[in-house]
Symmetry: C2
Subunit: 193 residues, 2 copies
């Protein structure tokens, strides 16, 4: 298993048919996930298309994840937690400035993804809303209020996704206090045949 250190990120290729296992090693840690069609990086993971076709904001095993072109990019095939977020953008220096009021903000998952994807010529403007693995966001159906709670994931919990096209993947160990119950931990990942 490869390790993403706390408050950092990485990128890698996941070929069609391969599986990716993402593990919360210590528990209560979020991993921001996004992907692009490796052969045409203008095609990217779309929260809006995925939620629309799944008719739910809570994506879990069995759900296909769609691109902005309405093609299936991957399917989630195992999920020991069953609670993730697909509404919120990756934390960034702006998040820490606007929400947390930090004067010298961390670059966050957004900055970590920018760095990790730069070698594939992905620009910051091309980083969309991420699928926030293990992130526990509640929505009040009456008022619309969104709250960020500690993840439901415990040490060793994981998801497995299966690529339905050749993918460029970005993945982080999230940097936002609130999302990880105020303690930054690593994230594990491995590519399975």
């Amino acid at each position: 298993m490869k390790i993403i250190n706390p408050r950092s990120g990485t990128s890698f290729i996941l070929s069609k048919g391969k599986k990716l296992k993402i593990t919360d090693i210590e528990g209560e840690q979020v991993a921001d996930l996004l992907c692009y069609n490796l052969n045409d990086k203008k095609e990217y993971l779309s929260s809006g298309r995925t939620i629309d076709y799944a008719e739910t904001i809570f994506l879990t095993e069995g759900h296909p994840f769609y691109s902005n072109r309405s093609n299936v990019m991957f399917t989630m095939i195992e999920d020991t937690v069953k609670r993730h977020d697909f509404l919120l953008t990756p934390c960034s220096s702006d998040t820490f400035r606007i929400i947390y009021g930090h004067e010298h903000p961390h670059q966050g998952c957004f900055g970590n993804l920018c760095n990790a994807l730069q070698e594939y010529n992905i620009t910051p403007d091309e980083i969309p809303t991420t699928f926030n693995v293990f992130m526990h966001v509640t929505v009040n159906g009456e008022t619309g209020k969104v709250d960020v709670l500690p993840p439901k994931s415990k040490a060793g919990d994981y998801i497995i996704i299966e690529a339905k096209m050749d993918l460029l993947v970005g993945l982080t160990a999230c940097s936002a206090e609130m999302s990880n119950n105020y303690s930054f931990k690593p994230i594990g990942y491995e590519i399975l045949d």
Copy 2:
């Protein structure tokens, strides 16, 4: 007041400080809205950033709407309906194929926006999740289930937004049966000083 015919779309420039009034002329009709920074069209309206900073999925008067770069693009200053959607992507031929099972699908708001924005060199891949004015989407906070109900808007209901930067705007009279209570109607708009 200018009229957008049923199942069509348009684009126009809204300069900083100008206001845009969007009117549901007959009632129960959705209008998909998106915008770009006129001077750098890689900067676009972001549902993820806006929901994150507002801490609600229901945006209404008083809320700033953010770009992917976390800049305020516009603020909603009046809202006689107070129920709109910012989760779902514009309806498209894929929507009609996947959700409705249509064999010869309409191009939808997505296709209408593509056509309307082509003259400004916006490509289809650059059309993000839209702010769906008057669209009535419910979310079950327990299960995550998303449902599309008839709009709450009645004839003459409107919103007014105020541009905080020079904007290129795309706007439609929505083409999806479910979103408009199975009757396609026009949308009115006017630019106010």
